[in-house]
Amino acid sequence: MKSVLIIGIHGALAKITAELLIKKHPQIRIHGVDSRTISDVPLRSQLTFQQMKYTRTNFEKIFREYNFDTILHLGRLGHSRATGNINKRIDINLVGTNTILELAHKFHSKKVVILSTHHVYGAHGDNSMFLKEDSPLRGSFKYAELRDVVEMDQMCTNWMWKNQNQIETVVLRPCNIIGPQIKNSITQYLKTSYAPLPIDYNPMFQFVHEFDMASIIVASAESLKTGIYNVAGDDVVSLHEASAIVGMRKVKVPIILVEQLAKIMTPVWKFPSYLIDYLKFPVTLDNSELKKNLGDNIFRFSSKEALELLKLN
């Protein structure tokens, strides 16, 4: 790895990944981009960054200039910040990703790592425990706002198999990423006092610490062969247990009230409506494929330890 493009450098996970890459490969050259205003990026001589619109022209310019051999696409736009702006999400998640994949091929990059999510499987009452990578992607069955997430994953995997002889591509589907720096919906939920907690459901959850996730992204870029990989540790924790470990007071109410309370609390706590189903039904991942390729000791923190660290923070 000599020249790496990180898409979504404003995100905490991207920053940790960049730090780890620099530590492991001091000669590396990383260029980070983001459509958002970029702040708090670590000052390292190996790392440059720029804010830009995700247009073909802009991407072509940097591909020409930096000659990237590795692309880390960590810039999927989540829902908590973009609720209500579906056009922006489709533009970034689908059109932007398609452009990046095309250019990676055109400019002969060797490796592409794409960060998808376990939300693509969807939270359903009939989900079995430990879903494998070939499980159907039912994330958008009930909620149209997850359509771009599922379509992005499918677009990447189709492209991955089509171009497997020219470029190595890894699609990662992590469970809930949590950590002191991550600001995704589930971390916000766990850290919010008096957020509603369903009293009538208690699904099982898996959590991966942000540091472990960044390490796996680095390992994927270094050595993981083309394929789709679930990212989750071995232990599972129930929602109520997770909530108790983090230690924030919650308002225990039936699930039908959770959605209403979530709407009321929108100004202080953005909780997308599709996530309500994830508080009802389990989406747990089988990790055998990842462990087969990266070994049994890839996780430094278990789900419970990740939650305890979140509490300390």
Partner: protein, 266 residues
Amino acid sequence: MTKFETLEIELEKRYGKNRDPWGLEPKRAIADLKVLYPFYEYYFDVQVHGKEHVKDKPYMVVSNHTGQVPIDGMLICTAFATELEKPRILRPLVERFLAGLPFLGRWSSEGGAVLGDRNNCLNLLKRGESVLVFPEGVPGIAKNTKDFYKLQRFTKGFLRMAIASNAEILPIAVVGAEEFFPYVFHLKKVAKLLKIPALPLSLNLFPLPSPIDIYIGEPYSLPKELSHEALDEELEVHITNIEKKIQELTEHGLKHRRTIMQRLKK
């Protein structure tokens, strides 16, 4: 040492203090058992026959399904947790409908129930758990009065899973549960409209105190050369054998049946 103290020690040995991935919370399961046990012992006066057939290993426990509401499953699970030398929490595979219900879905999974799914079943057997299945499905439990104790045809999925995981089949017959609701008519069309598995209409709303006999048969071993991908025709003979075994246990139980009247006289 009481039944529940022994159970607590055994469960802690098996599960530790944590929940298992399917949501079983050992402490909660024991608390539930303590509540259910008086009904099991005094209200339904459950007697278990053939305990000596159960060894300390994983089984695919296969039972007839009777009584309109799945009380038979709860009674079998209570029997396995309280009556055996090596007590265990049986893992009943339940309808998707139940797993999605508020409160009830949570309560059942914390007590050991698991969504009836191929992967769940295989993973549980692999981890050394015993699973309880009712291969008659809803047609078994939701019968009109005239069809009481008529065993419905078994589906084949459970057998394929038992073969794939090398688990022995433990046949069970529950006798007495059909008398919980002696006069039943099923509103099949209304159930379909409401998207629920069954809607029985009965004279009594609460199950009658019919005495229950649980007969545990000898384990049925499947030939080692039988593949879980075998043709349906190859499995048919084993399905028939297991059905026959459960039917024999049921008929034996019916011959020695204790009635509600006998209990009342006593």
